[in-house]
């Protein structure tokens, strides 16, 4: 199981790129945030805040990850924290960069 809110350093996550959920991923809302499940890798991830869950759900409809964070009301000072969480999700193939956007 991968955990979205880890403390790994931010490396290559591109906040300004367009992102989307992997087609094999489903999102289940939970009181603490949400549960992601990847049917391909059979991995679970826990999104430990409702705001992060909203960011992840809306990625595909926003021009960039940064825009998704802004739309979900993430304060600018928290952006790096969200970028780290998104990077973890990208590393476990839960989210992917959108091509041709």
């Amino acid at each position: 199981m991968a955990c979205a809110a880890s403390t790994e350093p931010v490396g290559r996550f591109d906040l300004d790129a367009p992102w989307r959920l992997d087609a094999q991923v489903r999102v289940r809302p939970e009181a603490f945030g949400a549960l992601l499940y990847h049917f391909g890798t059979r991995q679970l991830s826990f999104l430990k805040s409702p705001a992060l869950a909203e960011v992840v759900r809306s990625l595909g409809a926003q021009p960039s990850a940064r825009a998704a964070c802004t739309a979900a009301g993430v304060p600018a000072r928290d952006l790096m924290k969200y970028a780290r969480a998104l990077e973890t999700l990208a590393a476990s193939k839960m989210i992917r960069e959108r091509e041709g956007a």
């Binding site: 549960l35 391909g40 430990k48």
Partner: protein
């Protein structure tokens, strides 16, 4: 999960919208009679859910977004509709990991399975050698499991699981198990022996010693996430660092069991009326049981750790396994019987005699296990034709109520 000992676990104490780890036992029927069977399986229960009822459960799991189920039994593949249920589940966004002793995993079936997404297979093996395995699972069961593994590997099914219940006789075989898994490109999964089902009868003799528990813990720490555990050894985290996993008892909060007749229990190791939450055939269905059962509501309220709360290890072991305590007669807010600080052993000495501990029920064990039946000697029997019809009335056998002869009892006049 990579974040240490977890605020998430605290969140999970209040229960999730739906289970993450749902075990669904499809039948109590089994071709084996393993001495430690958690569900006391053997004979099919005539009230078993029908194919249509199983489909209705799957529909509900799909609506609740239960993404996968751990299917077991009994031996689930002996249900004639097993493959149909499997296909229905994976066609409805419910992945299936099923546990089997391998009896039906022919080369043909292995090829079918290898070609499917969202299916995972777990072959049970409780000894890395036939002697150790067959003593627990029955004569010939090692060879059946190994044949299934060869068939799966031969069909290109990568990463199937080999599932081992740790006992006093196989802790020393961990490296051998790992070698078997590596040989087949499989993944090793080891779980804890519970005193549930028939396991209650053999727990005293089979559960690992304190020394073996330490050995097991060190081995798990050394192997990290390479080896799966179903989060079943969190009671050992009292030795030091937490093991990978949620590290808490998820009964009724994250975990539950649907048994073959549709009864919903708090966890797969707690098949007993005390942990029965409802039935999937109740008016609200499975969702109704999960959301509204009184038992689950109680389990989701803050639990008291009782005497354990003052222990330095309580933060990591959280008092251990509810079912293990229950079936060894220990109080649920006390130490686990295998508490690494030794509190469990001391409590067991002081607790009710084992004979008075709650008995697992219901029991579907074979009345005469196949293993025992196979050992039974042939009964010497000589068949002989009936003597030819008597010539004189005096030679007739005495008349009985069942005599088929229409002339029985007729004595011709002279």
């Amino acid at each position: 999960m990579s974040a240490g000992p977890l605020p998430l676990a605290d969140q999970f104490q209040h229960g999730l919208a739906a289970p993450i780890c749902l075990t669904w036992e499809l039948t109590y029927a089994c071709n084996l009679s393993c001495v430690h069977c958690l569900s006391s399986s053997g004979r099919r229960d005539p009230r078993e859910l029908t194919t249509a009822q199983c489909r209705a459960v799957i529909d509900e799991l799909q609506r609740m977004q239960v993404f996968y189920v751990n299917v077991g039994g009994g031996e689930p593949t002996v249900r004639p509709d097993f493959w149909e249920i499997l296909d229905y589940a994976i066609g409805h966004d419910v992945g299936v990991k099923f546990s089997t002793n391998g009896v039906k995993i022919t080369p043909d079936i292995a090829r079918r399975l290898a070609g499917r997404d969202y299916v995972d297979v777990q072959i049970s093996l409780d000894g890395a050698t036939p002697e150790v395995n067959d003593a627990v699972r029955g004569r010939g069961s090692y060879e059946v499991a190994l044949r299934a593994m060869r068939n799966l590997a031969g069909a290109g099914f990568a990463g199937f699981k080999i599932s081992v219940v740790m006992t006093r006789h196989n802790v020393g075989q961990l490296e051998k198990f790992k070698a078997i898994a590596d040989r087949f490109g499989a993944q090793l999964r080891i779980t804890r022996l519970r005193p549930s089902g028939r396991g209650a009868d053999v727990w005293d003799e089979l559960h690992p010693t304190a020394g073996q528990q330490r050995e097991l813990y060190d081995w798990l720490v050394a192997h990290g996430t390479d080896v799966l555990t179903g989060d079943s050894f969190f009671h050992l985290s009292g030795y030091g660092g937490a093991l990978p996993g949620l590290g808490m008892c998820g009964a009724g909060r994250v975990v539950c069991l649907i048994d073959p007749v549709g009864d919903v229990y708090a966890c797969p190791f707690a098949i007993h009326p005390s942990f029965l939450a409802g039935n999937v055939r109740d008016p609200g269905g499975f969702a109704g049981v999960w959301r509204h059962s009184e038992l689950f509501a109680r389990l989701r309220r803050p639990q008291t750790g009782g005497a354990c709360e003052s222990c330095s290890a309580f933060g990591s072991c959280r008092g251990g396994c509810m079912a293990a305590k229950f079936f060894t007669g220990l109080p649920l807010d006390g130490p686990d019987p295998e508490c690494v600080k030794g509190h469990g052993e001391r409590a067991l000495v002081a607790a009710v005699p084992a004979a008075q501990a709650p008995r697992p029920s219901p029991d579907h064990s074979h009345r005469a296990g196949p293993y025992r039946a196979a050992q039974r000697r042939p009964v010497p029997l000589t068949l002989s034709a009936r003597p030819p019809a008597p010539v004189t009335p005096s030679a007739r056998p005495p008349v009985t109520a069942c005599d088929p002869d229409p002339l029985a009892g007729f004595v011709p006049g002279r």
